[in-house]
Subunit: 400 residues, 2 copies
């Protein structure tokens, strides 16, 4: 072996098959460019002082165990604290178990490792969360993409395809990855009828459902329908949620709620975690609770969302059918015929420009150059206004 | 699907093949039982006050980015700080790159995910670190075990087996997992001759080497030979190290140093990390450095090691050939003929008893009931003395 020689011969079949590039641009803030691309929470509302006090308290009160493998007594309580909080909101059906993970992204990786391998299909929404696609491509390249409309996943389209696959003797998906509430990037929420139809479909074609509910608590008005897991008599749903949008992403606190048989298998995998962080967050939750924060954030992001919608209304061509989300962080913007999302993205990334997420990264199959994802969670109002004005100018210019 | 129904049909082939149980006992401290089983650092030397100050400083100085995805400017400097520190110790050969991981255990998981799949063999020392076996079993069941003696891995034995495998057309290992310095659990250090022979063998049979150097900086006297990576002209070595034993495990700071082609592939995998923790540790390192701590820990663990050796000398049957480590945390203790490690373990786990690690968990193939691993890193001197006295009484009793 020599410097620069390919290491392909040592790689698994799954990884040799992954030729996609890893995109990092969507996590970078470029100075001076209006950040409508970042799916980040607003850092101005992070409870910095309180978390600093909790960090200090954990180290002072639990010195001998807080920094040891596994953490101390406070860390051990975090699961119970989050369980109680989610139960109180009716989001933890009987008979399920919880496992903590390092952010939702680790939860996603664990379910992929559990079920995906070369040739094993996985069903996704089109569009879907690009972080899921990037991750799942390390395990399989067999994506089954099903469309999303204003009521969420088009379950009939999925049903038709699965029936055809079964007739043709082709493999069915092991699971569907879905974001039923305030979809990333589509901004839509799955209707109750669709949720019920999806659960029936899962029974008919025997697949599991990974329900990513990163944004579920950040509803504006009205509340979303019951979670898929709440409608799930057969324990098919692996529910994933997180404090990243509620407290702060850097703490990497997320969790899976699923049938005990599934949690048992997931917990056999390598679950990187920091007992110290668990202790800090447990201390914070015990002292301050989470409910007041949630209320404050719903209010904040609702106002930001409406500001973005008003700006789009004002500056884009009349009748542009962007989504009007009931929660979450994102608006999904269809572009006029012939206008390329990648071109808009590229033209926007200049000094004093505007950063947007081109739609293609949200599709398994290269569609999506006709959409942009806009985030209202991160940019301050003035930055947002500047960004939308620049964006609409770019779009109008491209239409010429 | 019904409650309690098997989920095997959704699992990957690799995970369906893993029928081993996950052992957790070796990470638990049982009140009142002398803890000679725990491979934990002594928490009395964790820099609690300093880390508390660093946590507070990071939150105060970098409020808007410290808790965001990816972390702030201090977090971004951690890799450079550790790179500089390892380079200064001659542990970072030219042309390699570093990647941070959530503890060594995540690094191990990533290299397993990169290279192991059903049917792909992996070479291990016998005995080896049980955490590696537990992890690797999620990817393959094909372990090739090669013996360890007082000079480390018996490279000749590995050479003979690989030659036979090649003649028989059987697959060669994708990598060897080895702990050349202050082996866990065997306590031995690989000699320079063996290291050179191993590097030649890797070239001959075209495998990579995962060098786990969790304990390398904690040498007593003399210094261990150069790392395998320092002897590696062909960029075959993936070097793994950690601050878990130097600062504190709960911070989960570890790293991989390897060829750029390997780091590039590893970084495509899901690397859970906390920018906040990176920031805290970077701040701590910039303010306090690591060298004084290392000196202090070498002294502490050296004294503990010699105490354990003296106690074993005093209480065990004369001539018992336990290892005399030059660093690290562990002594490997062969039991008299017919004495079972599992029985000693079970009999020890009573109130006021003694906890030890039975050897079997360190072998891929069920050997090892004739050895115990004893740790000198965690128990206080009085606890250690009580533990060794109890242990020797149990051993003598089992010999009757």
């Amino acid at each position: 072996m020599k410097t620069g020689e390919s290491i392909d011969r040592f790689l698994t079949e799954a990884l040799r098959g992954n030729t996609g590039s890893v995109q990092g641009w969507w996590r970078r803030k470029v100075e001076g460019v209006a950040a409508l691309h970042l799916g980040f929470p607003d850092p101005a509302v992070f409870p910095l002082k309180e978390l600093g006090e909790s960090a200090k308290a954990v180290l002072e009160e639990e010195g001998l165990t807080a920094l040891q493998y596994g953490g101390g007594p406070l860390a051990a309580r975090l699961k119970e604290i989050i369980t109680e909080w989610t139960q109180r909101a009716g989001r933890f059906p009987e008979g399920r178990e919880m496992m903590l993970t390092m952010g939702s992204q680790q939860a996603i990786d664990l379910v992929c490792q559990l079920m995906l391998e070369p040739g094993a299909p996985v069903a996704v929404e089109a569009p879907t969360y690009m972080g899921f696609l990037t991750n799942a491509r390390n395990y399989t390249q067999a994506f089954l993409s099903y469309p999303v409309d204003e009521n969420g996943l088009v379950v009939d389209a999925m049903a038709g395809d699965l029936a055809a696959r079964r007739r043709a003797g082709r493999p069915l998906p092991r699971f569907l990855y879905t974001i039923p509430n305030f979809h990333n990037p589509a901004g839509v929420t799955m209707s109750l009828d669709r949720r019920k139809a999806l659960m029936a479909l899962a029974d008919e074609f025997d697949f599991l459902i990974v329900e990513d509910d990163a944004y579920g608590r950040l509803s504006f008005q009205p509340e979303p329908p019951p979670s898929l897991q709440a409608l799930d008599d057969a324990e098919r749903v692996i529910h994933v949620s997180t404090l990243s949008k509620i407290v702060a992403p850097g703490l990497r606190i997320a969790w899976v709620v699923a049938a005990p048989s599934i949690v048992k298998q997931l917990s056999r995998l390598n679950v990187a975690s920091s007992g110290f962080l668990h202790g800090v967050v447990a201390h914070y939750c015990l002292r301050h609770g989470l409910d007041e924060r949630v209320e404050r954030l719903r209010d904040l992001y609702s106002r930001r969302c409406h500001l973005l919608l008003d700006l789009l209304e004002e500056h884009l061509p009349p009748g542009t059918p962007f989504t009007r989300p009931d929660g979450g962080f994102f608006v999904w913007l269809p572009l006029p015929d012939g206008v390329s999302a990648v071109r808009i993205y590229e033209r926007g990334m200049v000094p004093n420009g505007v950063a947007v997420m081109p739609g293609q990264s949200a599709y398994a199959d290269g569609q999506g150059d006709d959409h942009l994802r806009l985030s209202f969670s991160f940019a301050e109002p003035a930055e947002m206004e500047r960004g939308v004005k620049l964006l609409s100018r770019l779009i109008l210019d491209e239409m010429r």
